[in-house]
Symmetry: D3
Subunit: 287 residues, 6 copies
């Protein structure tokens, strides 16, 4: 039998047939420390084939969720504004088709392009943000568009206190102070996820998962390791609180394959993707 | 002084002098993802020399336990049934000498050869199984003999509910349902180990430890990483509940050295081996 | 623009449209030393995208050659005879369509399946064989089907002296003696390639390239490193002597990606593939 | 703008201007297992630049603490006694200037040189010791000066029960017995740190942190991995109990960069350094 | 003795005291394949300390040449034009001081900034260019400023046939044709270096060495491996033909440390730097 | 069948039965750059099993040569003089039994211990020395016993011009000058090996092979990479000129396994060992 393992989890739906649409965004030009997140979508495709499609946590199989893998965007290295525009356009196109857009980074800056499109479609959008870093700088090395400024741009876009931020353990003093004032800010841990899930139950939700929220023991595949993060079980348990929310889009970013030769980071990313696909797809089905 | 670090922990007993007998089983031909467990016995021999022989957990030194390292089986790559027969024969030979057989894999399929011999010797055998994967498929890619089917073969061999399975977090829906019906099945965690140890206190016990029951943070040296596993301390603490059981054999399988360049997985495997040797050897001494 | 880099060199021809057809054969169960060649087709697909399609050596561009990438065979680990049958069937199917079959291993044993089909189609077939190892054993660890016996099987299949073997620098004394007697045997170097090319000019030719013919400095991505091999330039220069031959099929085998984290071996494999595609495709065009 | 990232955290104070003085001690000649700690100071300098200077745990920024990075000692490989003398001299020089000496190893043996100088200056010194290994042997392979004997030398130097040892999980039976008798010995965990901190509140304290007290999942960058250690969060939380103590010197030793290609161990070492600098520097400021 | 190995080869000259001035340019944002050349200057500084300062090839010691290491430029990721301006300014500043500017990349695009400044100072400048890639595209993925277009920009800047290009073995057909017409083009080998050296003997020369001109066997530390390159000896022997030329500046680019864990590529880069410093410095001395 | 691959090439002769005796010397305490040669003997034992015992170059099989693998010396880290004494004693013991001593390092300093014993037994001894480094310093970082001084010690021991040195391409100016005066010095290449072999035909010969004489492309497994060395073929071809010489001992040193994850360096070391065993053993047989 001939096969090409060229789509996530072996999915073979067209965009029309699917409820959710995944696209890869292989871009890392503003990464300031160790680059390489551009390789994440390709590696995750290969590794997703080795993951069981059944989630024993949710007792649901991926085959019950209709997902289209529509491929990777071809993004110009070194031109951040143009790249954000491409992502905005792609996300918008998926939303117009009434599908849930799912972006796999690439670096965290890319989230801005997706959020711009999703916020346009859902003016009462709330953002759930998991991350080791505040990403709230106004500029970084003189550049306004950077992985270190992405959440500041989101703050400028969305109304106050509609961003719920979890797990942050690194930033300037100014970022922590800004976060306390302008965000629903829950640093260091994911503890309050269940509470927040209850509060935003009737809102459209976009989830952005910077995988470095995990401790580097569980996720060494990052260019910016920040010891003191959450365990994989803590991440998984808290994501499950998002079941039954109205998730209108999500992204998983910052897997940096060259940093982790063992493959455990890519396996973690794929498992988070599997669970999130089931969470988002199942909620959509039951609406 | 001349030395060859060629036996586990520097042991130099013959089979006759020993109470326990270790043999290596370097075979991984049915491994479907990343192969390499064939290299585990050789690496563990080298690394065992760097581990203290004293267990501060049990306050016993390995020198108080008589172990023979009888070497590695020479196994034909690509011929699973013949390999299982070789392992059956070797295990039987050790049992006939009234020693406790200890197999170091290699892949998990090999356990079947050992269990066949041990069950023959102990008809009221109970199996304690630690693993990330259910391994309960009926066939895998058209082959019945596979690392993915090993526990199903054991189920066919032993009476119902004599297999006590811990830590499983990956499998088909069918496997989870089969397990719930036919095994003493304790997925995700090791929590019920102490209870089960009490229940099987008067039975002969074979323990099979697929090291991927550990979270890949603690055990990256695996070809099939499954995030969400137990910590090394949890594994160790729960193994200690097996003290005073009548352990008639055990195996430690699925260490895949090429996946872990840091050596922490091999160190974990050696420490599990040290503690299990003391648990099994000390219990035998006190019988 | 959306893209999936899922076909060699970005090719998008169907089998019908093409003159040459590539298939991957991800299998390494009989590998006796370090396994991992199963990962070669997937890695080469990704890396082929980074290679220019233009050959400055031949002054021809890959876009002038019509190639179909028909995907990978799904091969059962641990069942060599069945795997050879699958490869035979696939190769035959390509030949029946009057295309040139190109197999990317995987281990060298797989060549046997392809040669069986090609020889059936071309009874006056000659074989050009580049390799570090004689591969002429009658059995290996008790198994007749093994990467170490593949050329012996070919010798049994084809008439004497129709196999032209280059670069061999490792084997038993018996293999070297057998080779001298039964093959056109040119060990250590590729020096006589031009002469042989002249001799077989009017024969159908199958070329099997075990990439470990290269010195491990130029090709560290092998499980069986044999220092003392040829340089990449020597390989390339000698392959160019095969231009204008009637090449009716070829394979490139034994790239073992886990052994080479730098990617230089995969780059070498892709460049050999590019040049061979042009050599074989161009000759076919001019027939 | 031109820059050379050649000082820890970008600090640019002279010894005179500073309250604390860091020096590197790149030496690992007595390491018995895998060497390489000699490379730790250079790597930590580079990686410290990638760490935020603000501690969200203590809400203090490194810029509020005056630290001089005075460079690395040039130490003769293979001459342990001379090396200890060099470290003694350097430490003494810093103490004479009324600064807090901070040594970055290198192997743990080096601590002896520093403790000799600090004890001379503070006769009522107490030692807080975090480590996976007891390091209490009298000799190792016939040598008295070894990383395996360092704490025994400290015991011989200081009065009984002035050494408070945490986290030890490896050693000879004799070492565990000696420790129970002669040290304030808290093996396996860091649980009693807060109690001890209260007890020694009015004493001058030297802290020696062998980073292998961390579980190798969190700190794979060690030549002597000992599974079963503490998590990074546990380490961090317990170090924070040392705030307000009179810390007169500390060292961080045994980071072995070649063992950890991911950089998470170096990141852990840098974060421990940041927090300890703030703890020690802030306490000094408030005295 | 305290030391910080923070300058190339341990040099400690100020810009004023020196004849040559080195600066690092850690930038790789337009790299299309595997990024990481940003880490080259820092690694080369460390590794240069392990290289003897004496060249047995030239029988001259580096201590006879006055070199200032003025540090690294802090370059904004993701803004190529601004980065080129920074490099232009830095190079100009060195030229104005009548020193020879030496840039260590970073990616090859950076050469453009340096050449702009040098050409301004020396209108009859000739360029000697060693490279695996033609780098003569007009744009790449829609961007005009890219590592793939750098030589085209140089061609636009300098008069025809003043660029002497060696070793190119990869490019589009159009690039090879453009090169043949507009450059002194010597692809594949370095053979004609001596002839060219004679021809340009009375011209000011800028040398740009893209280290991937070396075969990846000798230089695996590249993100764009191109098998079929020259050996290290061939490179060294041909560089020696540049002795006594009037070298007014040079750069060494494209070392990508993350691709080569063995350090042999960095060692090669440092040795090329040592020989070029002696070649350029000695010629200047004798003018 | 049970087996322990614990002796070189599977040899099982006792010292009494053998003509040649191998011992390992795992010591690297004076290594100034990257340590790790201590791991070479253990790795070479494992890898020697994967090498064919037949040399197609000499048309002789290792089974025709009687070799005893007597194990590894247990050497105290950090005490060079004591270690040299242990090696002297061991070498002497082998010589007294009328066997040929073969030492596998470890670092090059160890050669001094062996040469002291061999020179005592053969006062007209000549030394053939292959190396990238002159190793002729009088002291290094204040220590007289160092890998960087070993050949100077040999010069002090043996009469002038009895040391024939090949391949050196790194050293101080003073070392090159000293070598030219006091040694038979053939730097950079191995060209004159055949001539020298003729000259010393009637002398007892000790051969010391520092494997870094190879270019790091062919031998990346070194802590001191020196680009510009010889190819593996050049090394092999020139060693074959030593056939029929009266070789009374040899060593192979400086393989540093942690530097080379691909295993090609260990394969090179094993192949050099195989050929040298045949050269030395066969010559002895024919005497």
């Amino acid at each position: 039998m001939l096969t090409n393992h060229t789509k996530f989890f072996g999915y073979d739906y067209s965009l029309e047939q699917a409820d959710l649409a995944i696209f890869g965004a292989p871009f890392d030009s503003t990464t300031s420390n160790r680059p390489g997140t551009r390789f994440a979508p390709a590696l995750m495709r290969l590794d997703s084939i080795n993951l069981e499609t059944y989630s024993p946590y949710q007792k649901i199989d991926l085959t019950e969720i209709k997902v289209a893998d529509i491929g990777d965007l071809e993004l110009a290295f070194g031109n951040a504004e143009k790249v954000l525009a491409d992502i905005y356009t792609q996300t918008k196109e998926i939303l117009v088709s009434a599908k849930i857009p799912i972006m796999l980074g690439g670096e965290h800056l890319l989230t801005l392009g997706a959020v711009r499109a999703v916020y346009e479609a859902y003016p009462d959008l709330n953002l759930i943000h998991l991350d080791a870093h505040a990403d709230l700088r106004e500029e970084y090395l003189g550049e306004e568009l950077s992985h270190a400024t992405i959440m500041r741009h989101c703050c400028n876009l969305l109304p106050p206190k509609t961003i719920h931020s979890f797990g942050v353990r690194s930033g300037l003093r100014e970022e922590f102070e800004f976060a306390a004032e302008n965000l629903n800010f829950h640093p260091f841990e994911l503890d309050h996820m269940q509470d927040i899930a209850n509060i935003v139950r009737d809102k459209p939700i976009y989830v952005t998962i910077d995988l470095d929220v995990l401790d580097p023991a569980f996720f060494p595949g990052t260019g910016t390791p920040e010891p003191g993060g959450v365990t994989f079980k803590e991440l998984l348990d808290n994501l499950l609180y998002l079941r039954n929310l109205n998730i209108v889009g999500f992204d998983i970013v910052e897997l940096c394959p060259p940093e982790d030769l063992t493959g455990i980071s890519s396996a973690a990313a794929c498992k988070v993707l599997r669970e999130m696909l089931i969470i988002a797809g199942n909620a959509k089905n039951s609406l």
